[in-house]
Amino acid sequence: MAVEHTMGTSAPGPGDQTRIHNIGYRSYDGPRLGRSYARRSLYSQSLRGSYGLGRSVKSKVLPMLLFVVMCVPAAIMVAVAVATKAKDLPLDYTRYAIVMQAVISLYVASQAPQSVSRDLRFKTVPLYFSRPIETADYVRAKFAALASALFILTAAPLLVLYVGALLAKLDFADQTKGFAQGLVSVALLSLLFAGIGLVIASFTPRRGFGIAAVIAVLTITYGAVSTLQAIADVQGSGEAVPWIGLFSPITLVDGVQSAFLGATSAFPGGVGPSNAEGVVFLLVALGLIAASYGLLMRRYKKVGL
Protein backbone atom coordinates (compact mmCIF):
# COMPACT_ATOMS: atom_id res chain seq x y z
CA MET A 1 0.00 0.00 0.00
CA ALA A 2 2.96 2.36 0.00
CA VAL A 3 3.08 5.20 -2.40
CA GLU A 4 5.94 4.93 -4.80
CA HIS A 5 7.77 8.08 -5.69
CA THR A 6 8.67 7.98 -9.29
CA MET A 7 9.18 11.70 -9.70
CA GLY A 8 12.61 13.25 -9.67
CA THR A 9 14.27 10.51 -11.60
CA SER A 10 15.71 11.32 -14.97
CA ALA A 11 12.38 12.19 -16.57
CA PRO A 12 11.28 9.05 -18.29
CA GLY A 13 8.79 9.25 -21.09
CA PRO A 14 5.19 9.64 -19.93
CA GLY A 15 3.13 6.52 -19.68
CA ASP A 16 5.75 3.85 -19.02
CA GLN A 17 6.47 4.42 -15.30
CA THR A 18 3.43 6.27 -13.88
CA ARG A 19 0.98 4.06 -12.03
CA ILE A 20 -2.17 4.59 -10.04
CA HIS A 21 -2.19 2.94 -6.65
CA ASN A 22 -5.22 1.94 -4.69
CA ILE A 23 -4.32 3.35 -1.29
CA GLY A 24 -7.39 2.05 0.43
CA TYR A 25 -9.84 4.97 0.60
CA ARG A 26 -13.31 3.70 1.23
CA SER A 27 -16.55 5.48 0.65
CA TYR A 28 -18.75 6.12 3.68
CA ASP A 29 -21.56 3.59 3.97
CA GLY A 30 -22.74 4.30 7.52
CA PRO A 31 -26.07 5.95 8.37
CA ARG A 32 -26.63 9.41 6.91
CA LEU A 33 -28.25 11.75 9.42
CA GLY A 34 -29.68 14.01 6.78
CA ARG A 35 -31.06 17.47 6.45
CA SER A 36 -33.24 17.71 9.53
CA TYR A 37 -30.37 16.56 11.74
CA ALA A 38 -28.05 19.16 10.24
CA ARG A 39 -30.69 21.81 10.78
CA ARG A 40 -31.19 20.75 14.40
CA SER A 41 -27.44 20.81 15.00
CA LEU A 42 -27.13 24.29 13.50
CA TYR A 43 -30.03 25.42 15.70
CA SER A 44 -28.61 24.02 18.92
CA GLN A 45 -25.09 25.26 18.16
CA SER A 46 -26.37 28.76 17.40
CA LEU A 47 -28.50 28.75 20.55
CA ARG A 48 -25.60 27.63 22.71
CA GLY A 49 -23.36 30.18 20.97
CA SER A 50 -25.81 32.96 21.88
CA TYR A 51 -24.92 32.37 25.52
CA GLY A 52 -21.26 31.72 24.81
CA LEU A 53 -21.52 28.00 25.59
CA GLY A 54 -18.95 26.08 23.61
CA ARG A 55 -17.03 29.30 22.98
CA SER A 56 -14.22 31.06 24.80
CA VAL A 57 -14.59 32.41 28.33
CA LYS A 58 -14.39 35.97 27.01
CA SER A 59 -17.44 35.50 24.83
CA LYS A 60 -19.43 34.04 27.73
CA VAL A 61 -18.99 37.20 29.81
CA LEU A 62 -21.34 39.57 28.04
CA PRO A 63 -24.38 37.31 27.42
CA MET A 64 -24.22 35.85 30.91
CA LEU A 65 -23.81 39.31 32.41
CA LEU A 66 -26.82 40.60 30.51
CA PHE A 67 -28.80 37.53 31.60
CA VAL A 68 -27.95 38.23 35.25
CA VAL A 69 -28.73 41.94 34.89
CA MET A 70 -32.07 40.93 33.40
CA CYS A 71 -32.98 38.62 36.30
CA VAL A 72 -31.66 40.55 39.31
CA PRO A 73 -34.37 43.24 39.39
CA ALA A 74 -37.02 40.49 39.27
CA ALA A 75 -35.38 38.74 42.21
CA ILE A 76 -35.24 42.01 44.16
CA MET A 77 -38.92 42.71 43.46
CA VAL A 78 -39.84 39.22 44.61
CA ALA A 79 -37.79 39.61 47.77
CA VAL A 80 -39.48 42.93 48.50
CA ALA A 81 -42.93 41.47 47.81
CA VAL A 82 -42.30 38.50 50.11
CA ALA A 83 -40.78 40.62 52.87
CA THR A 84 -43.48 43.28 52.88
CA LYS A 85 -46.33 40.79 52.32
CA ALA A 86 -47.53 42.91 49.39
CA LYS A 87 -50.89 42.26 47.75
CA ASP A 88 -49.42 42.51 44.27
CA LEU A 89 -46.08 42.52 42.48
CA PRO A 90 -44.60 45.99 42.08
CA LEU A 91 -44.39 45.51 38.31
CA ASP A 92 -46.71 43.77 35.84
CA TYR A 93 -45.38 40.74 33.98
CA THR A 94 -46.06 42.47 30.69
CA ARG A 95 -44.30 45.67 31.75
CA TYR A 96 -41.04 43.99 32.75
CA ALA A 97 -39.59 43.66 29.22
CA ILE A 98 -40.53 47.25 28.41
CA VAL A 99 -38.66 48.55 31.44
CA MET A 100 -35.62 46.37 30.71
CA GLN A 101 -35.57 47.12 26.99
CA ALA A 102 -32.06 48.60 27.04
CA VAL A 103 -30.68 45.27 28.22
CA ILE A 104 -32.68 43.33 25.64
CA SER A 105 -31.52 45.66 22.86
CA LEU A 106 -27.90 45.26 23.93
CA TYR A 107 -28.31 41.49 23.93
CA VAL A 108 -29.76 41.44 20.41
CA ALA A 109 -27.14 43.87 19.20
CA SER A 110 -24.27 41.80 20.58
CA GLN A 111 -25.55 38.34 19.69
CA ALA A 112 -27.19 38.81 16.27
CA PRO A 113 -23.88 39.78 14.59
CA GLN A 114 -22.14 37.04 16.55
CA SER A 115 -24.59 34.59 15.03
CA VAL A 116 -24.40 35.57 11.37
CA SER A 117 -21.66 38.14 10.71
CA ARG A 118 -18.83 35.82 11.62
CA ASP A 119 -20.07 33.18 9.19
CA LEU A 120 -19.94 35.82 6.47
CA ARG A 121 -16.58 37.21 7.49
CA PHE A 122 -14.78 33.88 7.67
CA LYS A 123 -16.63 32.69 4.59
CA THR A 124 -18.06 29.61 6.30
CA VAL A 125 -21.50 30.07 4.77
CA PRO A 126 -20.56 28.14 1.59
CA LEU A 127 -19.37 25.33 3.84
CA TYR A 128 -22.79 25.13 5.48
CA PHE A 129 -24.43 24.98 2.09
CA SER A 130 -22.11 22.17 1.01
CA ARG A 131 -23.93 20.08 3.61
CA PRO A 132 -27.43 18.81 2.91
CA ILE A 133 -29.03 21.98 4.33
CA GLU A 134 -30.52 24.68 2.16
CA THR A 135 -31.02 28.42 2.44
CA ALA A 136 -34.34 28.01 4.23
CA ASP A 137 -32.82 25.62 6.76
CA TYR A 138 -29.96 27.99 7.57
CA VAL A 139 -32.25 30.99 7.92
CA ARG A 140 -34.82 29.10 10.00
CA ALA A 141 -32.18 27.60 12.28
CA LYS A 142 -30.50 30.97 12.92
CA PHE A 143 -33.81 32.80 13.32
CA ALA A 144 -35.20 30.19 15.67
CA ALA A 145 -31.97 30.05 17.67
CA LEU A 146 -31.80 33.81 18.26
CA ALA A 147 -35.52 34.01 18.99
CA SER A 148 -35.19 31.14 21.50
CA ALA A 149 -32.18 32.79 23.12
CA LEU A 150 -34.15 36.03 23.45
CA PHE A 151 -37.14 34.14 24.81
CA ILE A 152 -34.93 32.57 27.46
CA LEU A 153 -33.54 36.00 28.31
CA THR A 154 -36.96 37.64 28.61
CA ALA A 155 -38.96 34.72 30.05
CA ALA A 156 -36.50 33.81 32.81
CA PRO A 157 -37.17 36.95 34.90
CA LEU A 158 -40.91 36.42 34.41
CA LEU A 159 -40.49 32.91 35.79
CA VAL A 160 -38.61 34.35 38.76
CA LEU A 161 -41.46 36.81 39.32
CA TYR A 162 -44.08 34.05 38.98
CA VAL A 163 -42.41 31.62 41.37
CA GLY A 164 -41.80 34.46 43.79
CA ALA A 165 -45.42 35.58 43.52
CA LEU A 166 -46.60 32.07 44.38
CA LEU A 167 -44.18 31.91 47.29
CA ALA A 168 -45.56 35.22 48.53
CA LYS A 169 -49.03 33.58 48.41
CA LEU A 170 -50.46 36.02 45.90
CA ASP A 171 -53.66 35.04 44.13
CA PHE A 172 -52.85 31.94 42.03
CA ALA A 173 -55.35 32.42 39.19
CA ASP A 174 -54.53 36.10 38.81
CA GLN A 175 -50.77 35.50 38.77
CA THR A 176 -51.02 32.58 36.32
CA LYS A 177 -53.07 34.71 33.94
CA GLY A 178 -50.56 37.56 34.16
CA PHE A 179 -47.65 35.17 33.68
CA ALA A 180 -49.24 33.59 30.59
CA GLN A 181 -49.94 37.03 29.11
CA GLY A 182 -46.37 38.03 29.82
CA LEU A 183 -45.05 34.92 28.09
CA VAL A 184 -47.11 35.58 24.95
CA SER A 185 -45.87 39.17 24.87
CA VAL A 186 -42.18 38.27 25.25
CA ALA A 187 -42.56 35.53 22.62
CA LEU A 188 -43.76 38.16 20.16
CA LEU A 189 -40.97 40.49 21.27
CA SER A 190 -38.36 37.76 20.83
CA LEU A 191 -39.46 36.97 17.29
CA LEU A 192 -39.62 40.63 16.34
CA PHE A 193 -36.25 41.59 17.81
CA ALA A 194 -34.53 38.47 16.48
CA GLY A 195 -35.84 39.18 12.98
CA ILE A 196 -34.77 42.82 12.95
CA GLY A 197 -31.38 42.05 14.48
CA LEU A 198 -30.57 39.23 12.09
CA VAL A 199 -31.60 41.16 8.98
CA ILE A 200 -29.32 44.06 9.87
CA ALA A 201 -26.45 41.82 10.99
CA SER A 202 -26.63 39.64 7.88
CA PHE A 203 -25.74 42.59 5.69
CA THR A 204 -22.34 43.22 7.24
CA PRO A 205 -19.41 40.90 7.81
CA ARG A 206 -18.03 43.31 10.41
CA ARG A 207 -19.20 42.47 13.91
CA GLY A 208 -18.61 45.89 15.42
CA PHE A 209 -20.50 47.67 12.70
CA GLY A 210 -23.37 45.19 12.98
CA ILE A 211 -23.67 45.87 16.71
CA ALA A 212 -23.76 49.62 16.18
CA ALA A 213 -26.30 49.34 13.37
CA VAL A 214 -28.68 47.11 15.36
CA ILE A 215 -28.51 49.27 18.47
CA ALA A 216 -28.95 52.41 16.41
CA VAL A 217 -32.11 51.06 14.80
CA LEU A 218 -33.57 49.84 18.10
CA THR A 219 -32.76 52.81 20.32
CA ILE A 220 -33.00 55.68 17.86
CA THR A 221 -36.46 54.59 16.71
CA TYR A 222 -37.53 54.25 20.33
CA GLY A 223 -36.02 57.63 21.23
CA ALA A 224 -37.69 59.29 18.27
CA VAL A 225 -41.06 57.65 18.91
CA SER A 226 -41.17 58.37 22.63
CA THR A 227 -40.11 61.99 22.07
CA LEU A 228 -42.82 62.48 19.46
CA GLN A 229 -45.38 60.78 21.72
CA ALA A 230 -44.47 63.01 24.64
CA ILE A 231 -44.82 66.09 22.45
CA ALA A 232 -48.13 64.90 21.00
CA ASP A 233 -49.39 64.22 24.53
CA VAL A 234 -48.40 67.68 25.76
CA GLN A 235 -49.93 69.32 22.69
CA GLY A 236 -53.24 67.67 23.54
CA SER A 237 -53.44 65.51 20.43
CA GLY A 238 -53.76 62.37 22.56
CA GLU A 239 -55.36 60.29 19.81
CA ALA A 240 -52.14 60.49 17.77
CA VAL A 241 -50.07 58.97 20.59
CA PRO A 242 -50.86 55.29 19.87
CA TRP A 243 -50.35 55.68 16.12
CA ILE A 244 -46.85 57.08 16.58
CA GLY A 245 -46.07 53.91 18.56
CA LEU A 246 -46.24 51.92 15.32
CA PHE A 247 -42.79 53.12 14.34
CA SER A 248 -40.52 51.42 16.82
CA PRO A 249 -40.27 47.72 17.74
CA ILE A 250 -40.67 48.05 21.50
CA THR A 251 -43.65 50.40 21.34
CA LEU A 252 -45.17 48.04 18.79
CA VAL A 253 -45.02 45.22 21.34
CA ASP A 254 -46.32 47.62 23.99
CA GLY A 255 -49.27 48.47 21.77
CA VAL A 256 -50.13 44.84 21.07
CA GLN A 257 -50.00 43.84 24.70
CA SER A 258 -51.98 46.79 25.98
CA ALA A 259 -54.68 46.10 23.39
CA PHE A 260 -54.95 42.34 23.82
CA LEU A 261 -52.97 41.17 26.84
CA GLY A 262 -54.41 43.37 29.54
CA ALA A 263 -51.26 45.43 30.00
CA THR A 264 -51.28 49.07 30.97
CA SER A 265 -49.54 51.01 28.25
CA ALA A 266 -46.21 52.69 28.87
CA PHE A 267 -47.17 55.40 26.37
CA PRO A 268 -47.29 58.92 27.75
CA GLY A 269 -50.74 59.58 29.18
CA GLY A 270 -51.19 55.84 29.59
CA VAL A 271 -53.45 55.63 26.55
CA GLY A 272 -52.71 52.46 24.65
CA PRO A 273 -54.38 51.52 21.38
CA SER A 274 -57.97 50.29 21.48
CA ASN A 275 -58.80 46.79 20.26
CA ALA A 276 -59.40 47.93 16.69
CA GLU A 277 -56.12 49.83 16.63
CA GLY A 278 -54.48 46.86 18.33
CA VAL A 279 -55.28 44.75 15.28
CA VAL A 280 -53.19 47.14 13.20
CA PHE A 281 -50.37 46.86 15.74
CA LEU A 282 -50.54 43.07 15.66
CA LEU A 283 -50.61 43.01 11.86
CA VAL A 284 -47.62 45.35 11.64
CA ALA A 285 -45.68 43.24 14.15
CA LEU A 286 -46.43 39.98 12.34
CA GLY A 287 -45.73 41.68 9.02
CA LEU A 288 -42.33 42.83 10.26
CA ILE A 289 -41.47 39.30 11.42
CA ALA A 290 -42.54 37.86 8.06
CA ALA A 291 -40.68 40.60 6.20
CA SER A 292 -37.46 39.96 8.09
CA TYR A 293 -37.77 36.25 7.34
CA GLY A 294 -38.31 37.07 3.67
CA LEU A 295 -35.38 39.46 3.60
CA LEU A 296 -33.11 36.87 5.22
CA MET A 297 -34.17 34.31 2.62
CA ARG A 298 -33.37 36.78 -0.14
CA ARG A 299 -30.06 37.68 1.46
CA TYR A 300 -28.90 34.07 1.64
CA LYS A 301 -30.13 33.11 -1.84
CA LYS A 302 -26.69 33.59 -3.32
CA VAL A 303 -24.36 34.43 -0.49
CA GLY A 304 -20.80 33.26 -0.97
CA LEU A 305 -21.72 31.19 -3.98
Partner: protein
Protein backbone atom coordinates in the same frame (compact mmCIF):
# COMPACT_ATOMS: atom_id res chain seq x y z
CA UNK B 1 1.63 65.13 15.51
CA UNK B 2 -0.72 65.00 12.53
CA UNK B 3 -0.13 62.69 9.62
CA UNK B 4 -2.21 63.44 6.50
CA UNK B 5 -1.89 59.94 5.06
CA UNK B 6 -3.14 58.26 8.21
CA UNK B 7 -5.95 60.79 8.31
CA UNK B 8 -6.92 60.06 4.71
CA UNK B 9 -6.97 56.31 5.34
CA UNK B 10 -9.06 56.77 8.48
CA UNK B 11 -11.55 59.01 6.69
CA UNK B 12 -11.92 56.39 4.03
CA UNK B 13 -12.40 53.62 6.60
CA UNK B 14 -15.00 55.64 8.46
CA UNK B 15 -17.00 57.02 5.57
CA UNK B 16 -16.46 54.36 2.96
CA UNK B 17 -19.38 52.33 1.68
CA UNK B 18 -22.26 51.57 4.01
CA UNK B 19 -20.75 53.17 7.10
CA UNK B 20 -21.51 56.62 5.72
CA UNK B 21 -25.11 55.57 5.17
CA UNK B 22 -25.83 54.86 8.83
CA UNK B 23 -23.86 57.92 9.90
CA UNK B 24 -25.90 60.01 7.50
CA UNK B 25 -29.23 58.36 8.31
CA UNK B 26 -29.25 59.38 11.97
CA UNK B 27 -28.89 63.14 11.39
CA UNK B 28 -31.44 62.98 8.59
CA UNK B 29 -33.88 61.29 10.96
CA UNK B 30 -33.31 64.01 13.55
CA UNK B 31 -33.95 66.75 11.02
CA UNK B 32 -37.03 64.96 9.67
CA UNK B 33 -38.44 64.62 13.19
CA UNK B 34 -37.80 68.29 13.91
CA UNK B 35 -39.69 69.25 10.76
CA UNK B 36 -42.62 67.05 11.83
CA UNK B 37 -42.58 68.46 15.36
CA UNK B 38 -42.43 72.02 14.08
CA UNK B 39 -45.52 71.36 11.96
CA UNK B 40 -47.38 69.57 14.76
CA UNK B 41 -46.46 71.74 17.69
CA UNK B 42 -45.22 75.01 16.23
CA UNK B 43 -42.20 76.81 17.61
CA UNK B 44 -41.90 76.10 21.31
CA UNK B 45 -38.72 76.55 23.32
CA UNK B 46 -39.46 73.81 25.83
CA UNK B 47 -40.27 71.29 23.07
CA UNK B 48 -37.10 72.21 21.23
CA UNK B 49 -35.02 71.78 24.38
CA UNK B 50 -36.67 68.40 25.11
CA UNK B 51 -36.12 67.08 21.62
CA UNK B 52 -32.54 68.29 21.33
CA UNK B 53 -31.68 67.12 24.82
CA UNK B 54 -33.48 63.79 24.71
CA UNK B 55 -32.85 62.67 21.17
CA UNK B 56 -29.86 64.60 19.82
CA UNK B 57 -27.56 64.87 22.82
CA UNK B 58 -28.61 61.79 24.81
CA UNK B 59 -28.92 59.27 21.98
CA UNK B 60 -27.50 60.48 18.70
CA UNK B 61 -24.20 62.01 19.80
CA UNK B 62 -23.08 58.93 21.82
CA UNK B 63 -24.03 56.48 19.07
CA UNK B 64 -22.23 58.48 16.39
CA UNK B 65 -19.33 58.86 18.82
CA UNK B 66 -19.19 55.08 19.27
CA UNK B 67 -19.30 54.43 15.54
CA UNK B 68 -16.66 57.04 14.72
CA UNK B 69 -14.44 56.51 17.75
CA UNK B 70 -14.21 52.74 17.68
CA UNK B 71 -14.52 52.62 13.89
CA UNK B 72 -11.37 54.75 13.55
CA UNK B 73 -9.16 52.00 14.93
CA UNK B 74 -11.21 48.94 15.94
CA UNK B 75 -11.67 47.20 12.57
CA UNK B 76 -7.98 47.61 11.74
CA UNK B 77 -6.93 45.91 14.96
CA UNK B 78 -9.67 43.34 14.49
CA UNK B 79 -8.56 42.16 11.05
CA UNK B 80 -4.85 42.61 11.77
CA UNK B 81 -4.15 45.16 9.04
CA UNK B 82 -2.99 47.62 11.70
CA UNK B 83 0.46 45.98 11.61
CA UNK B 84 1.09 47.54 8.20
CA UNK B 85 0.38 50.92 9.72
CA UNK B 86 2.42 50.25 12.85
CA UNK B 87 5.41 49.05 10.86
CA UNK B 88 5.74 52.47 9.22
CA UNK B 89 8.13 54.96 10.81
CA UNK B 90 5.36 56.98 12.42
CA UNK B 91 5.13 57.47 16.16
CA UNK B 92 2.29 55.53 17.74
CA UNK B 93 0.98 58.58 19.63
CA UNK B 94 0.94 60.43 16.29
CA UNK B 95 -1.25 57.69 14.82
CA UNK B 96 -3.63 57.92 17.78
CA UNK B 97 -3.70 61.71 17.68
CA UNK B 98 -4.43 61.75 13.95
CA UNK B 99 -7.17 59.17 14.31
CA UNK B 100 -8.60 61.15 17.21
CA UNK B 101 -8.74 64.32 15.12
CA UNK B 102 -10.54 62.43 12.37
CA UNK B 103 -12.97 60.79 14.80
CA UNK B 104 -13.73 64.15 16.42
CA UNK B 105 -14.26 65.80 13.05
CA UNK B 106 -16.60 63.04 11.86
CA UNK B 107 -18.58 63.04 15.12
CA UNK B 108 -18.89 66.82 15.05
CA UNK B 109 -20.00 66.96 11.43
CA UNK B 110 -22.59 64.23 11.84
CA UNK B 111 -23.92 65.27 15.25
CA UNK B 112 -23.32 68.95 15.97
CA UNK B 113 -24.22 70.30 12.53
CA UNK B 114 -27.58 68.46 12.39
CA UNK B 115 -28.26 69.54 15.98
CA UNK B 116 -27.81 73.17 14.94
CA UNK B 117 -30.03 72.71 11.88
CA UNK B 118 -32.68 70.89 13.91
CA UNK B 119 -32.55 73.61 16.56
CA UNK B 120 -33.12 76.33 13.99
CA UNK B 121 -35.98 74.35 12.44
CA UNK B 122 -37.59 73.75 15.83
CA UNK B 123 -37.66 77.26 17.25
CA UNK B 124 -35.31 79.44 15.24
CA UNK B 125 -32.70 79.46 18.03
CA UNK B 126 -35.10 80.98 20.56
CA UNK B 127 -33.42 81.49 23.95
CA UNK B 128 -30.16 80.28 22.37
CA UNK B 129 -31.39 76.67 22.65
CA UNK B 130 -30.01 75.58 19.28
CA UNK B 131 -26.60 77.14 19.85
CA UNK B 132 -26.39 75.82 23.40
CA UNK B 133 -27.08 72.24 22.35
CA UNK B 134 -24.74 72.58 19.40
CA UNK B 135 -21.96 73.65 21.75
CA UNK B 136 -22.83 70.72 24.00
CA UNK B 137 -22.68 68.35 21.02
CA UNK B 138 -19.32 69.81 19.96
CA UNK B 139 -17.83 69.40 23.42
CA UNK B 140 -19.31 65.95 23.87
CA UNK B 141 -17.95 64.91 20.46
CA UNK B 142 -14.39 65.53 21.61
CA UNK B 143 -14.75 63.58 24.86
CA UNK B 144 -16.72 60.71 23.32
CA UNK B 145 -14.32 60.33 20.41
CA UNK B 146 -11.30 60.19 22.76
CA UNK B 147 -13.03 57.79 25.14
CA UNK B 148 -14.25 55.38 22.48
CA UNK B 149 -10.98 55.52 20.56
CA UNK B 150 -9.30 54.35 23.76
CA UNK B 151 -11.87 51.56 24.10
CA UNK B 152 -11.12 50.53 20.51
CA UNK B 153 -7.46 50.00 21.38
CA UNK B 154 -8.19 48.25 24.69
CA UNK B 155 -10.89 45.76 23.82
CA UNK B 156 -12.10 43.74 20.88
CA UNK B 157 -15.62 44.30 22.12
CA UNK B 158 -15.22 48.06 22.10
CA UNK B 159 -18.54 48.77 20.42
CA UNK B 160 -20.49 46.83 23.02
CA UNK B 161 -18.70 48.45 25.94
CA UNK B 162 -19.09 51.87 24.37
CA UNK B 163 -22.81 51.32 23.96
CA UNK B 164 -23.13 49.94 27.48
CA UNK B 165 -21.55 53.14 28.76
CA UNK B 166 -23.64 55.40 26.55
CA UNK B 167 -26.98 53.68 27.02
CA UNK B 168 -26.88 51.87 30.35
CA UNK B 169 -24.64 54.15 32.38
CA UNK B 170 -25.63 57.56 31.07
CA UNK B 171 -29.28 56.88 30.30
CA UNK B 172 -30.39 54.22 32.79
CA UNK B 173 -28.10 54.72 35.80
CA UNK B 174 -28.00 58.46 35.24
CA UNK B 175 -31.77 58.62 35.66
CA UNK B 176 -31.83 56.29 38.69
CA UNK B 177 -28.69 57.17 40.63
CA UNK B 178 -28.01 60.91 40.78
CA UNK B 179 -24.34 60.34 41.60
CA UNK B 180 -23.77 58.59 38.27
CA UNK B 181 -24.54 61.88 36.54
CA UNK B 182 -21.33 63.42 37.84
CA UNK B 183 -19.42 60.87 35.80
CA UNK B 184 -21.26 61.41 32.55
CA UNK B 185 -19.93 63.10 29.44
CA UNK B 186 -23.45 64.18 28.62
CA UNK B 187 -23.79 66.15 31.87
CA UNK B 188 -20.38 67.72 31.47
CA UNK B 189 -21.27 68.98 28.03
CA UNK B 190 -24.63 70.18 29.34
CA UNK B 191 -22.79 72.22 31.95
CA UNK B 192 -20.96 74.02 29.16
CA UNK B 193 -24.22 74.46 27.27
CA UNK B 194 -25.87 75.91 30.36
CA UNK B 195 -23.21 78.59 30.48
CA UNK B 196 -23.78 79.40 26.81
CA UNK B 197 -27.58 79.60 26.93
CA UNK B 198 -27.75 81.38 30.27
CA UNK B 199 -31.45 80.50 30.50
CA UNK B 200 -33.10 77.82 32.58
CA UNK B 201 -34.02 75.55 29.66
CA UNK B 202 -30.65 73.84 29.57
CA UNK B 203 -29.59 72.58 32.96
CA UNK B 204 -26.86 70.31 34.19
CA UNK B 205 -26.18 68.56 37.49
CA UNK B 206 -22.48 69.36 37.33
CA UNK B 207 -20.80 72.69 37.94
CA UNK B 208 -19.01 74.34 35.02
CA UNK B 209 -15.53 74.14 36.56
CA UNK B 210 -15.87 70.48 37.50
CA UNK B 211 -17.25 69.70 34.07
CA UNK B 212 -14.48 71.53 32.22
CA UNK B 213 -11.74 69.94 34.31
CA UNK B 214 -13.20 66.47 33.90
CA UNK B 215 -13.73 66.94 30.16
CA UNK B 216 -10.15 68.00 29.58
CA UNK B 217 -8.78 65.33 31.91
CA UNK B 218 -10.77 62.52 30.30
CA UNK B 219 -9.85 63.59 26.78
CA UNK B 220 -6.14 64.02 27.49
CA UNK B 221 -5.80 60.87 29.61
CA UNK B 222 -7.76 58.73 27.17
CA UNK B 223 -5.64 59.90 24.24
CA UNK B 224 -2.38 59.42 26.14
CA UNK B 225 -3.35 55.96 27.34
CA UNK B 226 -4.54 54.94 23.88
CA UNK B 227 -1.10 55.90 22.56
CA UNK B 228 0.52 53.78 25.27
CA UNK B 229 -1.76 50.85 24.47
CA UNK B 230 -0.87 51.10 20.80
CA UNK B 231 2.83 51.08 21.65
CA UNK B 232 2.50 47.70 23.32
CA UNK B 233 -0.20 46.27 21.11
CA UNK B 234 -0.25 42.52 20.69
CA UNK B 235 -2.31 41.03 17.93
CA UNK B 236 -4.44 38.15 19.08
CA UNK B 237 -6.38 35.71 16.97
CA UNK B 238 -10.13 35.75 16.71
CA UNK B 239 -11.48 34.52 20.05
Amino acid sequence: MYDPTVARLTYRALLGRRRALILGALPLLLIAISVVVRFLAGADDQTAADLLGGLALATMVPIIGVIAGTGAIGPEIDDGSVVYLLSKPIKRPTIIFTKLIVAIAVTMVFSAVPTLIAGFILNGNGQQVAVAYTVAALVASIAYAALFLLLGTVSRHAVVFGLVYALVWEALFGSLVPGARTLSVQQWSLAVAQKVSGGDLVTSDVGLTTAAVLLVAVTVLATWYAGQKLRSLTLAGEE
